[in-house]
């Protein structure tokens, strides 16, 4: 096999594709083959072993987990180089002609989508059907939210940074603890989303969320920042705690909902698969991953610590 093979996160996919394309245009190596399929599936393939018919790089929209490292090791994939390429912002957007969902706080989203919420100091099964039921500032429109399915890395961020935060902010978390739940159980209970059809899991991609919104103009959807930026003709974005999502506000940490993006290199393949190391270095080069590079232009929040990453990659495999 002559070309580098990459698989994994659908969030990282566009960036990896952009880099692969540029790599093919600028180097004599063949263009790497970049597959999608999700972070977990990518890492699973990555950990299948070493050798020509396994992939060289796994993209992930989350850090590799302990269990995965162990599984890798079991199959002989021991040396893994972790490369963080930047951050991805997660935004809440709705149809441009839909209700005026302009500003949310985690509490609002928790009140709208959580399974059990606090109403008049009582913990009850979520009774809200309209946004205005719990926040008079929000439009008097039916609640319907399209959130990433459990197969997406994005879901984890959504739960941690929005739902869990909202749970605490509304006091529901405290109420649960008071009701005698252990902390772990309370956390779990916080993260549960309502199951009466007003919170819809999207197992597919953001385009599916977009299509759902066009079928349900009242809905709000969870998107990646880059996706939103590409679809400003049909979508409008809401602020979170008053902060407008943008690469700038995310890189400063002002906008709360974001997550790091990674790729993992199989060190054993460096020196064996032609172009692997070159590709990895090229990926994190300033010309690409820097704040003015094409990745940032597409929507990647570039990593302030890029220089360290470059050094890690340069040192890999030797």
């Amino acid at each position: 096999r002559d070309q580098v093979q990459v698989a994994g996160s659908s969030t990282v996919l566009p960036y990896a594709s952009i880099v692969a394309e540029a790599f093919g245009e600028n180097f004599d190596f063949p263009t790497p083959v970049v597959e999608s399929g999700g972070s977990s599936a990518g890492l699973r393939r990555f950990c299948e072993g070493v050798g020509e018919n396994t992939i060289d790089i796994a993209n992930a929209s989350r850090a590799i987990r302990e269990k995965e490292v162990a599984a890798c090791a079991e199959n002989g994939v021991t040396d893994i180089v972790e490369v963080r390429i930047g951050y991805d912002g997660i935004v809440f957007a709705s149809r441009i002609e839909g209700p005026a969902y302009n500003a949310f706080s985690p509490s609002d989203l928790f009140n709208a989508l959580g399974a059990k919420v606090l109403v008049d100091g009582q913990l009850v099964d979520n009774p809200h059907t309209k946004w205005s039921d719990f926040n008079a500032d929000l439009p008097d429109a039916d609640i319907i939210g399209f959130i990433p399915g459990t197969n997406h890395g994005t879901r984890e961020v959504f739960e941690e940074k929005v739902i869990a935060a909202g749970c605490e902010a509304t006091g529901a978390f405290q109420a649960m603890m008071d009701a005698g739940m252990s902390e772990d159980d309370a956390e779990d209970a916080c993260l549960a989303t309502r199951s009466d059809g007003l919170s819809v899991d999207i197992a597919g991609d953001y385009t599916e969320t977009l299509a759902q919104l066009s079928a349900n103009p009242n809905g709000i959807g969870v998107f990646g920042l880059a996706f939103y930026e590409n679809n400003q003709d049909t979508l409008k974005v809401a602020t979170m705690d008053g902060v407008m999502p943008s690469t700038a506000s995310i890189s400063t940490g002002e906008y709360p909902v974001s997550r790091p993006l990674y790729f993992y290199i199989k060190e054993a393949h460096i020196g064996v698969i032609p172009g692997l190391k070159e590709f990895a270095s090229f990926f994190v080069a300033d010309e690409l991953a820097g704040p003015d590079g094409p990745l940032a232009e597409y929507g990647l929040v570039s990593d302030p610590a890029l220089a360290e990453t470059q050094a890690t990659v340069a040192g890999a495999g030797s």
Partner: protein, 489 residues
């Protein structure tokens, strides 16, 4: 000699063998083929087969075994030092292979002489650069043991290649000679050729069996793993499907019932659309339509089977879903979900129409005209004839077509995801979102879960369950067909 050449040679020799065999048979019969046991061409095929089959089998086996043998030989020659601690033997071997191939390419392109390729040393030549110049990219510098191994690799493969060529051709010649000697006017050439063909047919039918075995085995172990981690009673009888995912921890619930219900419900609606429409279309095309209309309508409807399911999915999501919600579900107070069982079922039904219509059309068309005549002659109308004579006679085929459509309905994911949503619910209301087993197989398999966690493994359990269930369905169908089959003539 390249394999393609060997294949060509075998082919050419087989053709020659064919004529030789035939000629010998004719001579042995004194030029009168009437005194031959079989038609002359069977003697030809006999010779050709005896030449081709053994040599092809040998070739195939050799091609599979040669790399394994060479790898093990070369790899045993590689010094331990050549394998650094962070790599493995197999990776080094792939490097060796690549260098060897690079040398081949270089020789082919004239960038190196054969001698040079055999004797170059890393000390004197930058092999990576030399190979890079002929377009073979290497991952790293080539060190001496690897180059050495690569050169031996080339050597060994070229000798093995020569041996293989000679052996394969010799075996072919032996086969030809054997069959040639046996060829005689009383030799039962047809029987031999036909048993070879029968052997091939049996071989072909084992593929389906092997596929099943493969599928069952690829799911069996994982399913067993799943059931060591999750209680089977809760799986089969649980009514809640709520897998957690690794990011969150917490307990998952894997109740099969809601998924099963969704599968049955959606398939049922899809079939209630596809079967009547497909069957009536088939009947119209084969019984009423003019040949011209039929030759137009049939392929046109078949296009429905070729439209990618994503198109149907988007059609369901964007057009059918909101339509049903706004004009049926909401006015009737049946909910306000745009994704619903009904949406997915209707759209899937459309996709399945050609499965029912085209296959049934062929079968109905094959019912002998005498059957229809018999019925017409008794004063039956065309529709009575169709319902009571033609359809029963075509029943096995029609059931087959419906089964095929059912199978597609059960196996479909895209339309369900976009049309019916992904929520596992147990509800009678057809305007509610539900989902199917297959969708969950896909989403658990591609999901953000650990490989050995029950969240992933449940996909295999679901797959196996589905497999067993559809098996039951098929047994039932076979039984029904057997019971009601009406064999004409």
């Amino acid at each position: 000699m390249p394999v393609i050449w060997i294949l060509t040679l075998i082919l050419v020799f087989s053709i020659i063998g064919f004529f030789l065999g035939r000629a010998r048979a004719m001579t042995s019969a004194g030029g009168d083929m009437r005194s031959l046991h079989s038609l002359p061409s069977y003697y030809g095929y006999n010779s050709a087969l005896f030449l081709a089959v053994p040599s092809l089998i040998l070739l195939g086996l050799w091609l599979i075994l040669q790399p394994i043998y060479i790898e093990s030989r070369i790899s045993s020659l590689l010094p331990e030092t050549a394998i650094s601690e962070d790599t493995t033997r197999s990776l080094v071997m792939s490097d060796v292979r690549r260098v060897a191939e690079g040398l081949d390419v270089a020789v082919d392109q004239g960038a190196m002489t054969a001698d040079e390729a055999r004797n170059i040393r890393t000390e004197f030549v930058d092999v990576r650069e030399r190979l890079g110049s002929v377009g073979v990219a290497l991952g790293s510098e080539v060190d001496a043991p690897i180059l050495n191994a690569a050169q031996q690799y080339r050597e060994l493969s070229s000798t093995m290649n020569i041996v293989m060529t000679v052996l394969v051709l010799a075996l072919g010649a032996a086969g030809l000679t054997f069959s040639y000697v046996r060829t005689d006017k009383d030799f039962r050439a047809r029987n031999v050729v036909e048993s070879v063909i029968k052997g091939l047919l049996i071989l072909a039918s084992t593929i389906a069996i092997l596929t099943t075995v493969g599928i069952v085995f690829s799911m069996l172990f994982e399913t067993r793993n799943f059931f060591t981690q999750y209680n089977w009673v809760e799986f089969f009888f649980g009514t809640v499907w709520d897998p957690s995912f690794s990011g969150r921890g917490g307990l998952s619930e894997f109740g099969l019932i809601p998924l099963l219900w969704g599968t049955l419900y959606i398939s049922f609606i899809a079939l209630s659309v596809a079967v009547p429409i497909g069957l009536f279309a088939a009947i119209y095309m084969s019984e009423y339509a003019s040949p011209r209309m039929r030759s137009f309508a049939k392929p046109v409807i078949e296009v429905l089977a070729g439209i990618p399911t994503i198109v149907y999915g988007l059609f369901a999501l964007i057009t059918v879903g909101p339509f049903l919600r706004d004009f049926i579900a909401e006015p009737m107070g049946l909910g306000s979900s745009s994704s619903s069982v009904m949406t997915a079922g209707l759209v899937m039904g459309i996709m399945l129409i050609p499965f029912v219509s085209s296959l049934s059309d062929d079968i109905i068309n094959a019912v002998p005209q005498a059957m229809r005549d018999g019925s017409f002659g008794l004063g039956a109308t065309h529709s009575e004839t169709i319902r009571q004579v033609v359809i029963p006679a075509a029943l096995p085929g029609i059931v087959g077509a419906i089964l095929l459509a059912t199978s597609r309905a059960i196996g479909e994911t895209m339309i369900v995801v976009l049309g019916a949503g992904a929520a596992a619910k147990l509800d009678l209301n057809p305007f509610e979102a539900m989902t199917t087993v297959t969708v969950k197989i896909v989403s658990q398999l591609t999901g953000d879960t650990d490989f050995s966690s029950p969240e992933t493994l449940v996909a295999f359990a679901l797959g196996l369950t589905l497999f067993v269930m559809t098996l039951g369905l098929n047994v039932l169908a076979l039984y029904i067909v057997r019971k009601y089959r009406e064999q004409y003539e």
